[in-house]
């Protein structure tokens, strides 16, 4: 059975674990970098990206996360997690993990009073997916190898680039696990490749 981690420094960890378990895989809360070693994939959850980044630095997680990505293992970032994955951030000179070829703007839909729910069409996932956007970021620019999976009012809110999956919204807060299931498939494909 595939083993997928959820970075558990802060944020909606429990919800992602539940969603993974619903998809029939083993979910592991990752608090220390050593716990990354035997995982097949990793979810970077929603939360506060600045707080997560501080804890990533404090516990020397960054190199381990970059090495995890370099091994070709799938990573899925939701909301704050999307910000962690992006190679470029609007208004900041430096990125975080910086592995996915996208440029992301933080809090780009406004403050909490502007947070919203909307139905999205997500390519290969769902015709109508109930997405929850909370002080959400969006993808301003995507590199040529990035496949755009969903847009909301013309803004890119879900995308995939090979082993990386990212979205602006919070699939973990709802009972529809189809996007998580899509990521679990990515993990299984990556595992299959390694055994060839």
């Amino acid at each position: 059975m595939s083993k997928i981690g959820v970075l558990a420094l802060q944020g909606a960890v429990r919800e992602h674990m539940r969603s993974l378990e619903e998809c029939g895989v083993e979910a592991v809360a990752v608090k220390r970098k050593e716990e990354l070693t035997d995982l097949d994939g990793l979810i970077l959850p929603g939360g506060e990206s600045t707080a997560m980044r501080r804890l990533i630095d404090k516990y020397d997680f960054m190199d381990a996360l970059k090495a995890f990505a370099a091994e070709g293992k799938p990573m899925f970032g939701t909301c704050a997690g999307l910000i962690l994955l992006a190679k470029e951030l609007v208004g900041y000179d430096v990125s975080h993990i910086g592995v996915m070829d996208i440029k992301v703007e933080r809090n780009s839909f406004g403050r909490q009073v502007d947070s919203f729910e909307a139905d999205l069409t997500i390519k290969d996932v769902a015709e109508s997916f109930p997405a929850v956007f909370i002080r959400a970021p969006h993808i301003v620019e995507a590199g040529e190898n990035v496949e755009i999976l969903s847009k909301h009012n013309g803004r890119i809110v879900a995308a995939r680039e090979g082993q990386y999956l990212g979205c602006s919204f919070h699939p973990e807060l709802i009972d529809n696990h189809r996007l998580t299931a899509y990521f679990v498939e990515m993990v299984k494909e990556a595992e299959a490749k390694q055994f060839v």
């Binding site: 420094l9 960890v13 919800e15 939360g47 506060e48 501080r54 009073v113 919203f116 729910e117 909307a118």
Partner: protein, 293 residues
């Protein structure tokens, strides 16, 4: 597209889990808090221990301070309104505050009714000492809870009492039979449907942080161990000798609340925490936790 839904308002609190929310009184403190890894800041005119010292009526902060903090940081900004003060709450909502604390730290505006928080687009956090209080606040539309403790004392004893009480009562409800819940609802003064939901979920339907007396990294870790989803630190940080260091240490202790070697390390040479007050020395009218009904 819908704004202000229950999912959006409660979801916002879910994103704060495992984190520390810090009281700040100006932009500089807000930046220190963000830099230390706070998941949100609470913009105030005075921290609770200063509210105690000042006496008189404590009100919503000067909007200038709230505005200054909103502009200073990229993390969410919370602010306090008086219990039942519809207009203070609406003013804070209009300013774009991310979360409103209908708070017993301020002098109540209404000694009978709390705000009907369902009517607002902005989400609310409210204090509680037991499950009845928690359930009534959720019933009124609170999207997040925090146990009250005794604010501005730097004394953890009341915070421990309240988080233990709420969680023990949640466990009791979860273990009860459905036909016992109506009577339990009556005894607690809690909405019946909410007890059904708690039983079904096995927990409260909203995030519950701990507050009111957290003064050290070990205090924060204790709250997490007793089942809090995160921690509010009021006077504890900016009334300590070295706020930046204290703030960082409290954030780390909250994340790694079971790593005692780490907590030992980060508690070293922190300087003096806030002085603190023995609860029994507080006159009854000075106990903020009694406010709210």
């Amino acid at each position: 597209m819908k704004t202000g839904t229950e999912l959006v308002k409660r979801g916002m609190a879910e994103m704060q889990k495992g984190g520390v929310i810090m009281d700040v009184v100006n932009a500089e403190q807000a930046r220190i808090a963000e830099e230390a890894g706070a998941v949100a800041v609470m913009a105030l005119e005075r921290v609770p221990s200063d509210i105690r010292a000042a006496g008189g009526v404590a009100r919503m902060a000067d909007p200038r301070i709230v505005e200054e903090v909103l502009q200073a940081v990229s993390i969410p900004v919370m602010a306090k309104a008086r219990i039942g003060h519809i207009v203070e709450a609406r003013v804070l909502e209009a300013m774009g505050v991310d979360y409103i604390d209908e708070s017993e730290v301020l002098t109540p505006a209404d000694e009978e009714y709390h705000l009907n928080k369902k009517e607002y687009t902005v989400p609310f956090v409210c204090g509680c000492r037991d499950l009845g209080e928690a359930a009534r606040r959720i019933g009124e539309g609170a999207s997040m809870l925090r146990t009250k403790g005794e604010p501005g004392t730097g004394n953890i004893v009341e915070a421990v009492r309240h988080i233990r009480k709420v969680n023990a009562q949640v466990r009791k409800v979860v273990g009860m039979q459905e036909d016992e819940l109506m009577t339990e609802a009556k005894l607690l003064g809690a909405p019946y449907e909410l007890l059904l939901e708690i039983k079904r979920l096995g927990r409260l339907p909203v995030v519950n942080f701990a507050a009111g007396g957290v003064a050290t990294p070990a205090d924060a870790a204790l709250m997490m161990q007793l089942g809090a989803d995160g921690v509010f630190v009021g006077s504890g940080i900016f009334k300590s000798e070295n706020p930046a260091k204290f703030a960082r240490a409290i954030v780390e202790a909250t994340t790694h609340f079971q790593d005692y070697k780490l907590i030992a390390e980060l508690s070293k040479d922190l300087g003096t925490p806030m002085k603190g007050i023995e609860i029994s020395s507080l006159a009854p009218q000075d106990r903020m936790q009694e406010r709210g009904w």
